[in-house]
């Protein structure tokens, strides 16, 4: 297909209205010395590149392979993950909840989108959507089914509602057939959704 819209913009592309409003706030706060633009770049870089579900997956793989770590994590997750360097904004009060054949755990934030950032990064759009926030509590099994998770009837579903003070990390069940796998290989099976409770850990291929 020919590239038929004319490419030679006479001026720079105008950012969207909200983008300009954000720029305005940043300019005003920077002028007042309330904000350091370099610090903003560092925050964005961290959340785009260094902070994400692989941190949480590392924690889960450790819990699967080290009984002492698992016990410490269930006892005081905030302190335990802090020792691994996974701390910061929205990571102050983390509780680890472990899936078992008797109980599947699932996390929501009905207020807004509280989420354990240092362990899972920025929440996905669906986690922030009204639909998920409203329905996770009301009809968790139906929501799980939409994520492709079908649990046996004897497995109870417990939904944890996050707050600004308390955030949850789900420890999914370790998949069958993973005996003898090392921690790094196990961590690769731990998906983001499995740590929110809307998925299960992947089976080894």
């Amino acid at each position: 297909m020919p590239h038929d819209h004319h490419d030679d913009h006479p001026h720079s592309l105008l950012p969207s209205d909200p983008a300009l409003r954000v720029k305005a706030l940043e300019t005003i706060l920077t002028r007042k010395g309330l904000v350091d633009p370099a610090a903003l770049d560092a925050i964005i870089d961290a959340y785009e590149n260094r902070i994400g579900p692989k941190n949480g997956a590392d924690v889960v793989a450790r819990a699967w392979t080290d009984e002492g770590f698992r016990a410490a994590l269930l006892e005081d997750a905030s302190a335990t993950v802090r020792e691994l360097g996974y701390y910061g904004r929205q990571g102050e009060h983390v509780v680890a909840v472990e899936n078992t054949p008797a109980q599947h755990n699932m996390v929501v934030c009905t207020l807004c989108s509280c989420y354990p950032w240092p362990l899972l990064g920025i929440p996905p759009a669906w986690y922030k959507s009204d639909a998920y926030r409203a329905r996770a509590v009301r009809e968790p099994r139906r929501v799980l089914a939409e994520f492709g998770v079908f649990l046996p009837d004897e497995t109870a579903v417990r939904v944890w509602d996050s707050t600004a003070e308390m955030r949850y990390l789900v420890i999914p069940m370790r998949p069958e057939g993973t005996e003898g796998m090392d921690r790094a290989a196990l961590a690769a099976l731990v998906t983001r959704n499995s740590m929110i409770g809307t998925g299960l850990a992947r089976a080894p291929s």
Partner: protein, 104 residues
Amino acid sequence: MTRPEPAFAEPWHAQVFALTVHLNETGRLPWTDWADRFGATLARHGLARDLDGGDDYFTAWLETLEAVLAETGAADPKEAMQVKQAWETAYLATPHGQPVHLKD
């Protein structure tokens, strides 16, 4: 392995997020207050229609931050409007491909 989703769908989502986190980290915005205010904005918007957690979500985020900064006096709404206008003018006056700067 599937490619990870980008953390932010739009650059301005990242900017407004970072601005808020930075204000919190420098002690200017207690996070519990923020969560309450933001939750209230989401609830108000959600009454009219379902929010999809993408652009809608950060639009609510921005609206909340503007309101908080207006209240604390950190960024007066009239001034914010003027600076936004100045940025718009600067973009329109800058040839494509050149860095955009505010005058003064």
